[in-house]
């Protein structure tokens, strides 16, 4: 894995993560702690909701996506330091036993005026399931250090 400084990034570069299996019990325990709503907690209760069955909390999906990013080939020097992101969409439910993978595409690279030692990276992260269906997409805004002189 190559660690990259701001100068090593260019618009259009893409990076892939490994894969993560979504555990049925972890969907429920994550929801019990952070998003205790019937469609994330219980198969039967979920049937009669818009999800039509048990689905992971969107915040569980963002968290799993982050883990895939940290372990993947996208390696900014100093770590993945997001100060926020633009539009996020949950496009399809994430189900027990789904296998998630993230693809990241660099959309923008620019120096930081207030902080000349760093720059900003805009990266679109799309999370796919095992059928190649996009389940989530968001564009992250990252702080990346410039190569030390």
């Amino acid at each position: 894995m190559t660690v990259r400084y701001l100068e090593d990034f260019a618009v259009g570069q893409t990076f892939r993560s490994g894969r993560m299996r979504v555990d049925r019990e972890r969907i429920k325990t994550f929801a019990a702690e952070f998003d205790p709503q019937p469609f994330h907690l219980d198969e039967d209760a979920a049937k009669n909701t818009v999800f039509g069955g048990l689905a992971a909390s969107g915040w569980h999906t963002t968290a799993m996506t982050m883990r895939l990013l940290v372990d993947g080939e996208f390696k900014p020097a100093g770590g993945i330091l997001g100060f926020g992101f633009d539009e996020l969409r949950w496009l399809a439910p994430v189900r027990p036993e789904d296998e998630l993978q993230v693809e990241s595409e660099v959309l923008e690279v620019r120096p930081s005026k207030p902080r000349p030692s760093h720059g900003h990276l805009k990266v679109r992260n799309t999370t796919f399931n095992q059928d190649g269906e996009a389940v989530q997409v968001f564009t992250g805004n990252l702080l990346v250090p410039c190569r030390p002189k």
Copy 2:
């Protein structure tokens, strides 16, 4: 707590959550599972990073915010069903022992054309710490059922 249908929401309404104490060990175990980077895992390693000390993963903050929302006075009928959100910003680090609270403000209420039984709500959710400092803000897009005829 009043459960609200689309017709019960109006632009400018605000809702408050209860408070949640941020647990030091949970910062680390959440990070170990979902965002294993030094500034979220270890006090000493975090000192020499932009955070200047241990800070919760932003994804932990979003998850805690969701729990505060689910338990708070903002109660759309059918639950809090986000299909995504606009711009999210992490504005300040979340530290061990911080006490978080969320304020939600309704920005937009509109019927759904493809799904006449439901409508869309745009809600800005700001998470504050015990000093009244905003640590995170995002605008969620929610699906809310209309009042049954």
